[in-house]
Symmetry: C2
Subunit: 364 residues, 2 copies
Amino acid sequence: MDDAITLKSENFRNEARTGVIDCDVHNAVPSIQALFPYLEDRWRDYVVEHGIKSLEPNYYPRGTPLSARPGSELPNGHPPGSNLDVLRQQALDPWNVQYAILNCLYGVQMIHNEDWAAAMARAVNDWQNAEWLEKEPRLRASIVVASQNPEQAAEEIHRLGEHPGFVQVLLMVHSEMPYGKKHYWPIYEAAQQYGLPIGIHAGGVTGYPTMPVGWPSYYLEDYVSQSQAFQSQIVSLVSEGVFKKFPQLRVVLIESGFTWLPSLMWRFDKNWKGLRREVPWVNRLPSEIIKEHIRLTIQPLDESPKPEHLLETIEQIRSEDMLLFSTDYPHWHFDKNEEALPAKLPPRLEKKILSENARSVYRF
Amino acid sequence: MDDAITLKSENFRNEARTGVIDCDVHNAVPSIQALFPYLEDRWRDYVVEHGIKSLEPNYYPRGTPLSARPGSELPNGHPPGSNLDVLRQQALDPWNVQYAILNCLYGVQMIHNEDWAAAMARAVNDWQNAEWLEKEPRLRASIVVASQNPEQAAEEIHRLGEHPGFVQVLLMVHSEMPYGKKHYWPIYEAAQQYGLPIGIHAGGVTGYPTMPVGWPSYYLEDYVSQSQAFQSQIVSLVSEGVFKKFPQLRVVLIESGFTWLPSLMWRFDKNWKGLRREVPWVNRLPSEIIKEHIRLTIQPLDESPKPEHLLETIEQIRSEDMLLFSTDYPHWHFDKNEEALPAKLPPRLEKKILSENARSVYRF
């Protein structure tokens, strides 16, 4: 095992923890040909005839040392996260995880042809099942859907909803419209039916700027601003009454950061008090709805250089149930193992974050 | 004086404080005709011939009881904030302010004709000078500019830059592109030349959605999300190197909230460490640049129901210099006098917020 991924602290030895659930591990499609066995002839021909090389997104450009953790690159040129053995060694074993949830970010949401997008989503899910879930009992996966057409996305959820390996429906935070809108409700209806939370992950593509004030110039701006897109999605989901309509639905924000949450809850509660007549279905404090229905993964962790600030922030959330452990393997944000978990958490809270909170959200 | 604006607490009696500076008071143009004496013939004719009734923005719709504090409505149908005597009684006297800064939100930034927009900005400024600054020595004003054309905006700053009544240049947070872009640099160059900070206020209009994930349905969503637009502007200003190019420039965020600031600084610092090669001119921690160049007004205050959370948040900012007192008179957000200032501030910090911090940013 590479030095960079050797576990340094006594606290992080395998035997130190049990029942850990890693809620964000990324498996990558090694090449578009890997999906061919799972694609209908029509779409396989389409991909070949159009010379489509890959739908692997550019969030973590290959060849950029920053884009993946040291040692996760593969010698055959396949993207980090595309080899099960390496993923076992680097992501599953070090934390002694009981379950890890695969969030495959293959770019089906960037396809404008809805039927092709739906076919690619089906292929990715069948590939995930055959190549990952059936081979490694510690793995679970999110259902990849093409949210361009929520009815078709719901069909995919119905197709896989009873499969025990799939535990979540995956959306990307940059959407074509805010996720609270009724346009997306067929997805939520299907997810609720099978007890699947909606996972919303950083990334995505739309025609809208990634900042509410226009297009930024730098990836730095784009990445820092992702947390604002998550804030908008929470505001939309609550304001539109999604959780009134689907009272069992949970939404897990993945790679969102979470230290912005207390401030958002305060602001949202305050303005709801003045404007609640506009949204009469929101009949209790937005922060209460958020605490019941929203969960957030902890990596990457946007924390103060002073550890006590992080503990204060976690306390300000006023809920021990909301945070879920994640490593974001193999992306660069997870640069050191010991940083994946905040230092000095109270033991009870650490246990909830590492294991219990995920257990109450996901069906294992 | 109306009951609703009677000061209730001992702490808020006139004599309790001295040297208070209110950094956000809104004067309103009573009717478009009030600007006619300050408009060139060409544009006066244009307004009349096109039947333009008003450019008063719709942020606080007239007739909506929520949109203004009780008692600030005027019997003649003019908008709240358009009468100097009422403003004296309701905003200047209760806090015994030494100076109040007028931020006139008249909608010159929504005009697509750049020349007309610049003419309206000039008229608003001359009207502010004649009708407010010359009549009340406690008042100062922000220079209204039409940022559609930054060169013309800079000309307006040069026209008024040495006038002692104007202490700031006013922009709206929803811009046509992020404010860090070089497109806007002529404004900053002129502002720095006269020692004027740039005030960025909630509101504005562009073709972009007010959320980075698309158009929301409700004003509640729109208003809660304004704070995300402010976050984006900070990220843009720092990333594009505005403060490297204009090292004396200060930016004051107005009606932005501020409890989101610690989290943004943590996230920005962390990602800058990984991505700084993209923006080599950002050669120190973004949080250090923010602390030096950004200031924020305190109203409306997005605070926790637990007062200690607010104090923790203020401490997490790790600067006593950044917050500026404001009432946001006459808008609804300022619903109770005693809420304009956080409870239980340490006396030294309270003094800095009420007076000293503004004194070090604005030239009085």
